[in-house]
């Protein structure tokens, strides 16, 4: 009888723990505000024909928030030879005279302060370095309508300083600045914010922002959200046809759990629920896609469809400049329920066409429409961490419809499960 009773209690407790354990395992989500927001792809082309507009918002309508952000430059550069230092990300042949093209991974960081409910945006090429001014007179402005008909209002920091509530003509950074005359408090502002442009004229890489407190320690405030717009604008010049292309995606949010553990500069993502400070990275990323070079099936269309996937690691050691790495297993299903697979390593950052994952020759790829046999497929992406810093992955996809011009759309990948192993972000 005693055994039955204990067995019953054990069953009940196990049931409770198991089911509550499921509940406790939350997931990373780009459709919820978060304490860490990751923009997997930020790109600026030479001449700024392509640029990225970054949006970042504080969804807390009353309390300001401070964010510590990192640009991670994933450009490759020539080492040695006569083209030493040149960017060779897209073409290793740039490195001549014995030079070799080496992958890079360098971070630049800055801080952003957002007032309650405030959205801001900036171009990755320029950042936000000062207040907003009219392009012709240099006068402060808020919108283009504040300037003359032929001028525009530059992008800038919206609220460079606060003002004293009882004396709006007096600028302030803190409440102390408003005392003793005439007393009162200072309004919220973006004081302390200065956002640099990306560090290279041709740039591809990642942006990551982490909610912190005034002393720079990460805080579990799930108040940040963001979007990125990858834009290409080309004017007609006789040889080239004008084009405008905009693709947008939501920044991927990593929600804080509220647990504080370990060193404040080492952020633990997932793993042991007792010490996980942030939700864990997914076991699988799932991508619905058109197979490469598939014809657009919409009647009246004459485009071919290509898809790029962009991956960034969950684990990053920004202190020692060690990027996360993973071997990625791809399981590909076509509409006939037929399965293919391939694998490839990711370190630091990867932005590649699907058909380049398994072969340099797109026509022979398992992602090519003529190999797969159907227009669309599902690819399940399973990262398996590897040394020196084993990591999960996060990512987005960019689908391009290519005809005379390229029109594209970006979207967030689906996620499934949570990795057993913890990921870590180490900040300086």
């Amino acid at each position: 009888m005693g055994q039955v009773r204990w067995a019953g209690w054990t069953m009940a407790i196990v049931t409770a723990l198991v089911t509550s354990g499921v509940a406790a395992r939350a997931d990373i989500a780009s459709d919820k505000p978060a304490a860490i927001v990751i923009y997997p792809k930020v790109a600026v082309s030479s001449g700024r024909v392509t640029d990225t507009v970054i949006r970042l918002s504080n969804t807390n309508q009353t309390t300001p928030i401070l964010a510590h952000c990192f640009y991670l430059d994933a450009n490759s550069h020539c080492s040695g030879g006569s083209a030493e230092g040149s960017i060779c990300t897209d073409d290793p042949k740039v490195c001549v005279s014995g030079g070799v093209c080496l992958p890079g991974w360098q971070e630049v960081d800055f801080r952003v302060r957002l007032t309650g409910g405030q959205p801001i945006e900036w171009k990755a090429s320029d950042g936000l370095l000062g207040g907003r001014t009219c392009t012709d007179t240099g006068k402060p402005c808020k919108i283009a309508g504040d300037c003359s008909a032929t001028a525009s209002c530059t992008l800038g920091i919206p609220l460079t300083t606060g003002v004293c509530q009882r004396n709006p003509s007096r600028s302030c950074g803190t409440d102390d600045d408003c005392n003793p005359f005439p007393g009162g408090s200072c309004t919220q502002s973006n004081s302390g914010t200065r956002i640099p442009g990306v560090p290279e004229d041709r740039f591809v890489g990642e942006l990551k922002c982490i909610a912190i407190d005034e002393s720079g320690v990460p805080v579990p405030r799930n108040d940040l959200k963001g979007e990125a717009l990858l834009e290409t604008s080309v004017g007609a010049d006789g040889l080239v046809e004008a084009n405008l292309d905009v693709a947008s995606y939501n920044a991927i949010g990593i929600q804080a759990t509220g647990i504080v553990s370990g060193d404040p500069n080492v952020l633990t993502l997932g793993g042991d629920p007792a010490v996980a400070e942030y939700n864990g990275c997914p076991n699988f990323l799932i991508l619905n896609h058109f197979f490469e070079d598939a014809d657009d099936p919409v009647p009246g269309s004459s485009s071919e469809i290509q898809t790029n996937v962009v991956f960034v690691p969950c684990s990053e050691d920004l202190l020692r400049q060690i990027p996360g790495a993973a071997v990625v297993q791809y399981l590909v299903f076509n509409e006939f329920e037929q399965r293919f697979s391939t694998s490839k390593s990711v370190t630091c950052f990867q932005d590649t066409r699907l058909c380049k994952l398994d072969t340099p020759d797109c026509s022979r790829s398992i992602f090519n429409v003529n190999t797969a046999g159907t227009l669309t497929g599902q690819t399940r992406i399973n990262p398996i961490g590897k040394a020196p810093l084993p990591s999960g992955l996060l990512g987005i996809a960019v689908e391009s419809h290519v005809n005379d011009q390229t029109r594209s759309a970006a979207f967030n990948l689906h996620m499934q499960g949570a990795r057993d192993a913890a990921d870590t972000i180490t900040i300086p």
Partner: protein, 398 residues
């Protein structure tokens, strides 16, 4: 014996504590996880734009779904919406079957036939898009057809909703579906894409035609209360103010050149598409929902606006003829970017689903590009319970 009964009760209590913790306490509609209900709020086939639907079974078992197209086009599309010109709210439904891990797709203007003689795309066979959805579709519809997907009527503007069901047609919480919609401008090839909004199902589903989204035990949901995730209390949108310049166009030489006389040489507008979470496919009587907007500009100033819609609403923010306050315009907002919190009014406690689409205009070259994105949701569920009612004969026909 009494002790045994007490023990069983305590065991049940402990299990319930666990289950209670397991039940999500936050809104969890999702755009990036598999779910049991997929909602595509914006589906267009009006002759200028068309839509490609992609749906995938992410499980290792065969899955079925019962899908509804709801046409939200106005009775007279040339006139503004009003009591004498309501949305049509006509629905057509169909079933799809997906084998394990199977992806499928179709173009909404053409649908997809159940035609086993289609050729695959191997051996150089191309897809001639004029054949999509026809009995000679070849590679365009290659694959295991998911069933007969009907084409929508010309001028369709509305939503698609797919509900996971079992082989007998009864709703089940399989959480195996994911989807995407690609909106395409036929003339220019411009595309925008968003993920379907998913509602995860719970094991409390009693498999009848009344689907309970969030909330507790109620007269409509007497067995276990919520059968699916509830709709969120608030949707959070970041968007440019209507008329704001496109920052990348503005920095191009053709815009900054002194010869250019068009200032500003770009503009951006934002459109939101809204569908109610509560839908009764039996009575086909859409209930009005009043939306409240709280809008923040980048200068710590906020405004509010409201509008009412039923069935399906697509609003150009800032446009005076959509019923939404022009506070979304740059001049009224006093800023060029906004964060907008959208909720249903307390008097109409029904949830909504939202998708955003921006239109960027290059005024010098006369170009337009659109981009769609999923909105972010609050962590809280909306207060009331939403109900989707499926006619009983539809869930027993398979």
């Amino acid at each position: 014996m009494r002790r045994q009964r007490g023990l069983v009760e305590l065991m049940g209590l402990a299990a319930l504590v666990g289950l209670g913790l397991a039940r999500p306490v936050v809104a969890a509609v999702t755009t990036e996880q598999s779910a049991s209900i997929l909602v595509f709020p914006k589906v267009i086939s009006d002759g200028q734009r068309d839509t490609i639907i992609q749906i995938t079974n992410t499980s290792n078992n065969m899955r079925h779904a019962h899908c509804f197209y709801v046409n939200g086009a106005l009775t007279n599309p040339s006139l503004p919406v009003g009591p004498l010109n309501p949305p049509l709210w006509t629905e057509i439904d169909f079933d799809i079957w997906l084998t394990k891990q199977q992806p499928t797709h179709w173009v909404v203007s053409t649908g997809r036939l159940d035609n086993p003689s289609e050729k695959n795309c191997r051996g150089g066979t191309m897809c001639d898009p004029t054949t999509s959805g026809t009995d000679h579709a070849d590679c365009c519809d290659a694959g295991l057809d998911p069933g007969r997907v009907p084409p929508v009527v010309p001028g369709f503007t509305g939503e698609l909703k797919c509900i996971e069901v079992d082989q007998g047609g009864f709703p089940v919480p399989g959480n195996a579906l994911k989807g995407e919609a690609t909106l395409e401008e036929i003339a220019t090839g411009d595309v925008s894409k968003y993920n379907a909004i998913g509602l995860k199902g719970f094991d409390t589903n009693d498999m009848n035609g009344v689907l309970c989204l969030g909330g507790g035990i109620s007269p409509e949901c007497p067995v276990g209360g919520a059968e699916y995730e509830g709709c969120p209390a608030t949707w959070i949108l970041d968007h440019p103010a209507t008329g704001a310049p496109d920052r990348v166009v503005e920095q191009q030489d053709f815009c900054t050149a002194t010869a250019n006389t068009i200032h500003p040489c770009s503009s951006v507008t934002t459109n939101i598409t809204v569908v109610p979470c509560t839908e009764n496919f039996e009575t086909q009587q859409p209930l009005p929902v009043t939306l409240q907007f709280r809008v923040y500009n980048e200068y710590e100033q906020f405004f509010s606006a409201s509008t009412t819609f039923s069935c399906w609403g697509s609003f150009d923010l800032g446009s005076s003829d959509t019923g939404i306050n022009p506070v979304f315009n740059t001049a009224a907002l006093g800023g060029e970017i906004a964060q907008t919190f959208v909720r249903s009014a307390s008097g109409t406690p029904r949830g909504v689903m939202i998708v955003i689409e921006e239109t960027h205009n290059d005024l010098v070259n006369g170009l337009t590009a659109r981009n769609a994105q999923n909105a972010v949701t609050s962590f809280q569920d909306q207060a009331g319970q939403d109900i989707i009612t499926i006619p009983a004969d539809q869930i027993q026909q398979q």
